[in-house]
Symmetry: C2
Subunit: 90 residues, 2 copies
Amino acid sequence: MRGQELLTFVVYDIADDRVRFRIAEVCKDYGLDHIQYSVFSGPLDATRRSELFARLSDTLGRAEGRIIVLQLCEKDARAKREIVQIARSE
Amino acid sequence: MRGQELLTFVVYDIADDRVRFRIAEVCKDYGLDHIQYSVFSGPLDATRRSELFARLSDTLGRAEGRIIVLQLCEKDARAKREIVQIARSE
């Protein structure tokens, strides 16, 4: 049974290319979208979010890095504000 | 008068060094802490958060980039999970 899904953000800062790639793969395994260079987001329930955090922790292992996992309640998700500006092709 | 302050995250992805530097300076002006390479966070009330968003938008101007501003209610702030692993000095 699925619990209530909340918009979840994973934001990381990892210097090692191989480790960073593996962290991104874990996020994709959980159905999250790649919305910035080192940011994934998507809906997850509390159980999946905890599993994801454990997987991220295992995947980082002893490598240097910072990973934050955030959940946003419906109100906070509605309050999210975003600027997306793509380069014009010249 | 100050409204209720909520933990606020600014997460950005900006290729141009000069623009990225200016975005970081705006975040510092609002008292936010630099917690990852392209992430700032700290408490702001709704008025200051809106002002900050407008400043970020003006500062980005027509440059290419992505900026997300998130607010976390107290419950979401408590649920934040983080891994911080600093390199051992050899």
